[in-house]
């Protein structure tokens, strides 16, 4: 599901595209080659209409993805419940951790969060709302 978003967002250079795939899927070398081989077919599909449909209902997907990234970043126990209302501070994040999470989200969603917006992000919900807004702005 992530690959069409990658293809639709921007015409990245091959190296950057490879990096994005690597960071988002985190494959081994073998599966990495396979992903590279399958990339052109993804690009040939009618991505715009599908992407629009996807972005209309991206809310819960965005929150789930943000929760996953936050878990990975903070090395939280898998059993810990991370929901939209969870504060980063409650998970043990300090201010630098919060900035690091925002940078990770920027990379995962291919957006740029300006400084004033980044400062107000305290919960998963805040991050998801901002990401949805920025992705919508970029597609417009």
């Amino acid at each position: 599901m992530a690959a069409p978003i990658t293809a639709a967002t921007s015409p990245l250079s091959p190296a950057s595209r490879v990096q994005v795939m690597c960071s988002m899927l985190n494959p081994t070398s073998a599966s990495f080659s396979r992903q590279t081989a399958s990339f052109p077919s993804i690009r040939l599909r009618p991505v715009p209409s599908r992407f629009q449909a996807l972005s209309c209902s991206a809310k819960q997907d965005t929150i789930d993805k943000v929760c996953e990234i936050v878990k990975n970043q903070l090395a939280v126990d898998e059993g810990t419940a991370v929901s939209g209302e969870t504060k980063f501070v409650d998970l043990g994040a300090d201010s630098l951790d919060t900035v690091e999470i925002v940078m990770g989200l920027e990379e995962a969603f291919q957006i740029t969060v300006d400084e004033s917006s980044a400062q107000v992000i305290q919960t998963v919900e805040d991050a998801a709302v901002l990401i949805d807004k920025l992705v919508a702005e970029k597609d417009a």
């Binding site: 190296a15 950057s16 490879v18 990096q19 690597c22 960071s23 985190n26 070398s29 990975n72 970043q73 201010s95 630098l96 951790d97 900035v99 690091e100 940078m103 990770g104 920027e106 990379e107 400084e115 980044a118």
Partner: protein, 131 residues
């Protein structure tokens, strides 16, 4: 010439601890945004991921978590900017970047704890003949 030009631009000192703290976050953001190009310049896709590099940078910053003097923070930021500039302008070789930021935590880099209390003699004594 680029190095000479860059050396001239020294930002003014932070007026307060809060401003210095703000600049630290700006520096961290700038470093994180440079990670994709650094990985492309030095061909690091096989040995590290962007998130690992980001964590390494955060770890380096966190080493100085206890510094509260804005002047010291400004000096450390200047050194950090210099290091970032050296990396992005290809003043380092691939093995330097790998040795310092990829595998450095596994024994290549001597990680001196920033102990404020020990004298220089004791620090050197503990370090023995390393480097």
């Amino acid at each position: 010439m680029a190095f000479t030009m860059r050396a001239v631009k020294v930002p003014p000192n932070s007026a307060s601890l809060e401003e210095a703290r703000h600049r630290v976050f700006d520096f961290f953001r700038q470093a994180c945004r440079a990670i994709p190009s650094i990985m492309e310049i030095y061909n690091l896709d096989d040995v590290v991921t962007p998130s690992q590099l980001r964590s390494t940078i955060a770890k380096e910053i966190r080493k100085n978590q206890g510094v509260t003097n804005p002047k010291v923070i400004d000096m450390l930021l200047f050194k950090g900017m210099e290091e970032l500039g050296n990396i992005t302008e290809h003043a380092k070789q691939r093995h330097h970047v790998i040795g310092q930021y990829v595998v450095g935590q596994k024994g290549l880099v001597q990680d001196m704890e920033k102990d404020q209390g020990s004298s220089d003699f004791l620090k050197k004594f503990y370090t023995s003949n390393y480097s």
